[in-house]
């Protein structure tokens, strides 16, 4: 058989041993296949967690006095823990870097693959191993500690025994999180080295597309922060199985110390979640405005400064733990400070729209919704970052609504928009625009109907993690609105999956290399990409978002953005 690398990655393999079926994917070191595998696994987990959230909202439809009970209170505790563990550790933290970063980072910088393809596959296997361990822990016992595993409860809460065998589901889930963490770290190292060493000829740092920049900043955070939480979670495991005191006050430990160590990772982790989606928005908006992005350098630098400052403000999660006033003021100040680069980005995206030639593709709709939702999420974050209002709003539904506005309305909307943007390039199939837009409408309306009432509920004192509430008109109405919103949102999510699956099975085959007329490098190669991404080595001659030059290239018929050498 001819060995030409010019065939689609869907039909060519990296290993002569595994050339068919499941194993040709599972053993593949091709970054594109790994990205697709992550997508399948992650979106499956995402859907399960959405359903858990749906049941929790259903439980809150009527107040306690009405006798309405879908799930008992203990199960509710397990549900929100599982919802969070799946959403955070299995979906949004690996998130956009694992799916679209894997697939498009090498394409955006003109490389054949990531720097360490085999390590990349190892990361995926670690992800799967961690996911399986977490699922086993969930099925055999579960946990109701919340995803933060805060001691001393997480240390002292009992283990269950199944057929006389003691099964410590919490230790299982903690170990799973540790393994998932190593998967993330290895991905981060891989991407950093890829960006440093494998950029195409002529691609200086400030000629990289902005998604690559955001992946770069994210990767540093992954490498800098994840080891700390990894070992901290293991300390809880050690404390559960051995008579050692790290965080249990009865053995001399300090539970507040755990919270510091936990948030030293878990606050940067929220930027691990959001930065890649910001990068996707920075790709979608100039493409669909047919205009260079406003303030390219400031967005690139803002990504890095968000990563830098984001590392230093973990203790704003702990204002109510009785830390010193000085520390509280410092962390509050830094929290406000990190809003600056974030606001710069938002400003730049809207400025890019100005006088642009805007096409409202499904991806663009999700990107615009990202700006809207994330602005609400970011500004409500300011409420929580200022010391006095935080005392009132701490541990209320306001906090839940705030981080869903950033994580779901922001990060997940950005990721879904990114998948819509890149779908034709990834699979060579086109989805139904009409249904995709309808799915967006359901998601956007449902999302806001679900979470905006929760902001108000929190303001009126509805605590988070409670499985019911007293019979009061303000609570009843808003909870009902929120539950109805969840129905619309879940419909939207199901529609999104429906559109994707339908497109994969019955979608129109397309080989059009650049359906949205994008100027960045990843679009200037075959659809779907070939195994080695580019037929020949590429050389970069212009800025990534130089649409004038791009239109000239299209007119002249030269391969846009990249000159063959």
């Amino acid at each position: 058989m001819e060995t030409s690398p010019s065939q689609s990655y869907l039909n060519s393999h990296t290993s002569p041993k595994w050339t068919g079926g499941f194993m040709s994917w599972f053993m593949s070191t091709d970054h594109k296949r790994i990205g697709v595998m992550y997508a399948v696994a992650m979106f499956s987990f995402f859907f399960v967690a959405v359903l858990l959230g749906f049941v929790m909202k259903l439980q809150k439809m009527y107040p306690a006095s009405s006798g309405w009970e879908i799930i008992p209170v203990e199960l509710y505790g397990s549900f929100f823990t599982l919802h969070a563990i799946i959403m955070i550790f299995l979906f949004i933290v690996p998130g956009a870097p694992a799916v679209l970063g894997n697939f498009f980072l090498p394409l955006q910088i003109g490389a054949k693959d990531v720097a360490f393809p085999r390590v990349n596959l190892l990361s995926f296997w670690l992800y799967l191993l961690g996911a399986i361990m977490a699922v086993v822990g969930i099925l055999l016992g579960g946990a109701d500690t919340g995803w933060t595993f805060t001691p001393p409860y997480s240390i002292n809460t009992k283990t269950i025994s199944i057929f006389g065998v003691v099964f410590d589901s919490i230790s299982w889930m903690l170990t799973a999180a540790f393994i998932l963490g190593w998967g993330t770290i290895l991905t981060g190292i891989n991407f950093i080295v890829t960006i440093h060493r494998m950029r195409a000829k002529g691609m200086g740092y400030f000629k990289m597309p902005l998604f690559t920049w955001s992946i770069y900043a994210t990767s540093w955070l992954q490498v800098l922060a994840t080891p700390v939480v990894g070992i901290t979670l293991l300390m809880i495991v050690i404390e559960r199985i051995m008579p050692v005191g790290f965080f249990d006050p009865s053995k001399g430990g300090d539970p507040i110390l755990f919270q510091h160590l936990f948030w030293i990772y878990s606050h940067p982790a929220v930027y691990i979640m959001i930065l890649p989606s910001m990068g996707l928005v920075s790709e979608i908006i100039p493409t669909n405005s047919q205009k260079p992005i406003f303030g390219y350098k400031s967005i690139a630098i803002a990504s890095c400064s968000i990563a830098g400052v984001g590392y230093l403000l973990w203790a704003h999660h702990m204002f109510t733990t009785g830390m010193s006033d000085f520390a509280a003021i410092l962390f509050s100040f830094l929290t406000f400070f990190v809003a600056i680069p974030t606001a710069i980005k938002t400003f730049n995206w809207t400025a890019t729209l100005y006088k642009g030639s805007i096409t409202l593709t499904p991806a663009m709709l999700f990107a615009l919704a990202f700006i809207f939702n994330f602005s609400i999420g970011g500004l409500t974050g300011m409420f929580l970052g200022s010391l006095s209002t935080d005392i009132h709003l701490h541990d209320t539904a306001f906090v839940v609504a705030h981080f869903h506005y950033t994580m779901f309305g922001g990060a997940a909307f950005g990721l879904i928009g990114g998948v819509f943007h890149y779908f034709p390039k990834m699979f060579g199939k086109m989805y139904s625009m009409k249904w995709a837009k309808a799915a967006f409408a359901f998601m956007f309306i449902g999302f806001n109907a679900l979470y905006f009432p929760m902001l108000v509920l929190g303001y009126y004192g509805m605590p988070r993690r409670y499985h019911t509430y007293p019979d009061m008109p303000i609570f009843n109405d808003l909870q009902m609105a929120s539950t109805l919103g969840s129905w619309i949102l879940v419909t939207g999510v199901i529609m999104v999956f429906g559109v994707w699956i339908h497109a994969l099975i019955k979608g129109k085959q397309t080989t059009e290399i650049n359906p949205w007329n994008s100027s960045t490098l990843e679009w200037q190669t075959a659809t779907p990409p070939t195994l080695f991404n580019f037929e020949e080595d590429v050389e970069i001659t212009r800025d990534p978002y130089d649409y004038e030059a791009f239109r000239g290239e299209v007119k002249a018929g030269t391969s846009a953005g990249a000159k063959n050498v």
């Binding site: 981060g188 700390v228 199985i241 080695f532």
Partner: protein, 219 residues
């Protein structure tokens, strides 16, 4: 499907690999940094107990182990140097010496640990009962060690234990590299693996350089 297979192109980028490995070492260092942070917090809050507990550690044994580990780092560097100069046999011998020194460290550590177990400082107590229950180190009349000392010994065992785990990983890695050197796949031209194994070993050494004074010397 008309499937076509392309064996992975062995794109070799020594500098990129080195960068990646240094980043990995950094994460290992941060893993221990969290332990050191916990240590320093509890040292400052239970200073007297930490001092008392540290006195029961055997400084002599600790010193011997430090010397062993430092020597092993030296033999590691010499091994890499020998390989770079092309004397594979010398490199292999020196790598085995490094391995043996690592094992010696573990054996001594094992004796030290079992002495501690005999003093009821760890693990042998039933789960849930704090360490030190019935220990001969107790002041007469008290049921258990003060919490500060419990914290000290807990940290001591977990930190030196994690360190020992890294010694074991490094030692296994050395055996693998030794095997590759015998096969000839690691040689004068392609010595990156030995270099990385050496870097890992030095990291383990550096961590011990911090563990040793914090547990044995600052009593």
């Amino acid at each position: 499907m008309s499937d076509i297979t392309h064996p992975i192109e062995h794109h070799r980028d020594d500098e990129g690999t080195r960068l990646g490995f240094w980043l990995f070492l950094y994460t290992e260092l941060f893993l221990f940094a969290a332990f050191f942070l916990v240590y320093s917090v509890y040292r400052s809050s239970h200073l007297e107990d930490f001092k008392l507990a540290a006195e029961s550690l055997n400084t002599g044994i600790g010193t011997v182990n430090t010397i062993i580990l430092l020597t092993s780092s030296l033999t590691m560097v010499l091994s890499l140097d020998a390989l770079k100069k092309g004397s594979v046999k010398l490199a292999k011998t020196l790598l085995l010496v490094t391995f043996a020194l690592g094992m010696a460290f573990l054996v001594i550590k094992g004796f030290e640990w079992s002495a501690k177990f005999e003093h009821h400082l760890f693990l042998q107590t039933a789960k849930g009962i704090a360490a030190g229950h019935g220990s001969p180190l107790l002041t007469p009349g008290s049921e258990m060690l003060p919490v500060g000392q419990v914290l000290f010994f807990g940290l001591y065992f977990i930190m030196t234990g994690t360190h020992a785990l890294h010694i074991i990983i490094g030692a296994i890695w050395m055996l693998i590299v030794f095997f590759w050197m015998s096969k000839g796949s690691v040689n004068q031209d392609n010595h990156g693996v030995l270099e990385r194994c050496g870097l890992y070993w030095h990291l383990v050494d550096v961590i011990w350089i911090f563990l040793f004074p914090l547990y044995y010397l600052v009593a």
